[in-house]
Amino acid sequence: MSNIESLAAPVQLRNVVRQFGQQRVIDSLDLDIAPGEFVALLGASGSGKTTLLRSLAGLDSIDSGQLRVPKARAAVFQEPRLMPWKRAWKNVILGLRIPDAKERAVQALTEVGLAHRLDAYPATLSGGEAQRVALARALVREPKLLLLDEPFAALDALTRIKMHRLIIELWRKHTPSVLLVTHDVDEAILLADRVIVLAHGKIAEQLTIDLPRARDTGQDGFQAIRARLLSLLGVEVDVPAAVGQAAVSGVRRFAHG
């Protein structure tokens, strides 16, 4: 890898190890995320997904190896983690040291469609609204790396669909690199440029998803990728014969590494 390329990748992990006692939760992991790339991280519970994300967020240290992340990074978690005692707009600009803070907060909340909820306390927001405030809070910092830790897992199905659209829209506008940790295979395929399957702290498989956007689960090739990812995660699915044929070519087309 050339020097220029390595400068370009905002996230670079080389031989990263994180262990708790004897157990290596992250085991000699190498990972690059390109500028503006949307990466989804799949894996069974205990595969090291969350630990990896926490290391990238600076919430956890690593035991050995090299880890390079941009200073400008932000995280959205499964729970919105808003300060209950601060109104929505104050939550958005918490920790920012800028003069026109309120203006920026209004702008960020308008982007996520919450211009009318500026002064609401978190307790009065619905789950989806609170998560959108959390998203605004992350994006107002103009991060080079946006870390999403199952941010849609606690939302209802309809809200989740809306949030998927919103996140893509905002990702295109702000162009951060994104690392999305999720359990939801469909979500990963719908959103990401690249899906990484993590097992025992190592990358078991990665697929580049080059389905055209906007994606939907009925799209050509979608089910094939889904079946492939699910089998990597230990779930066998029956793909109908006709689709199965496409699946083989699909996998051939999209498989990577």
């Binding site: 978690f77 983690r81 300060m83 209950p84 005692w85 601060k86 920790g95 306390y121 978190p122 307790a123």
Partner: protein, 290 residues
Amino acid sequence: MSEKILNAGSFSVDKAARIQGEPEGVSRLIPLWLRNWRTPEVLLRLLSPIVLLLAWELASELGLIPQRIIAAPSQIGGTLWAMIVSGELGKHLLVSLQRALLGLSIGVSIGVVAALITGLSKRGEVILDSPMQMLRTIPSLALVPLFILWFGIGEFTKIALIVTGTTFPVYLNLFSGIRNIDPKLIEAANTLGLNRRELIWHVILPGSLPAFFVGLRYSLGISWLALVFVEQINTTAGIGFLASDARDFMRTDVIVICLLIYSVLGLLIDGLIRTLERFALAWRPSFVRN
């Protein structure tokens, strides 16, 4: 009359018809407003206390309850009025309030400072927490003899006793409030780049405020309790003095008045704290919903 209609499996009851109907029989003689009369709940609530008071009054009149046991309600009311008009009650009340508030504010301040030191720093906890826990277990009234030896029997001892009683509830609650802040919020604050000072100001202090208020309420109750006690030792003013003076003269009416004052003031101060909470904790779900 009620009418039931059954059709196609649906079922409805029509009850509105009755009110419109013309009154029949004797009820025609009762005016409409009286027939529709519904006793307000407030009156019903007051009913049993009033009956009790009347029974008490009657028993006193008949000599069933001698005055040296307890005075009649009418006499208590008369004495209360006389004490209010003469300004005597106001004078003693003011002295008591000053004592309670002074002791309370010093006690709460010490509790808050100590809790901040132990809550916010590990070293502070190591140094300060065990002495606080040891002191906490001493009943403050047991300190009376020592305090009298040290500070004499004047105002200082009285305030000091209220201070020792009110420090610890605030200390314990605020300390646990600080330590029990949701670690997820602290993590979020860290990813948002808050420094330590900002973390304390924007996350830890507001998050521990509900616990502080719990402590404050306990402290208030204790300050009142301590006040009753300290005002009965060598005082010349205050509600407690009034009560012990009344005891010497067997004035049961004055004693009852003092008890009333304590309970009314307690309620008032609790109401004050509630109002404070309503403003300071406006973000809490129980407040924002209504």
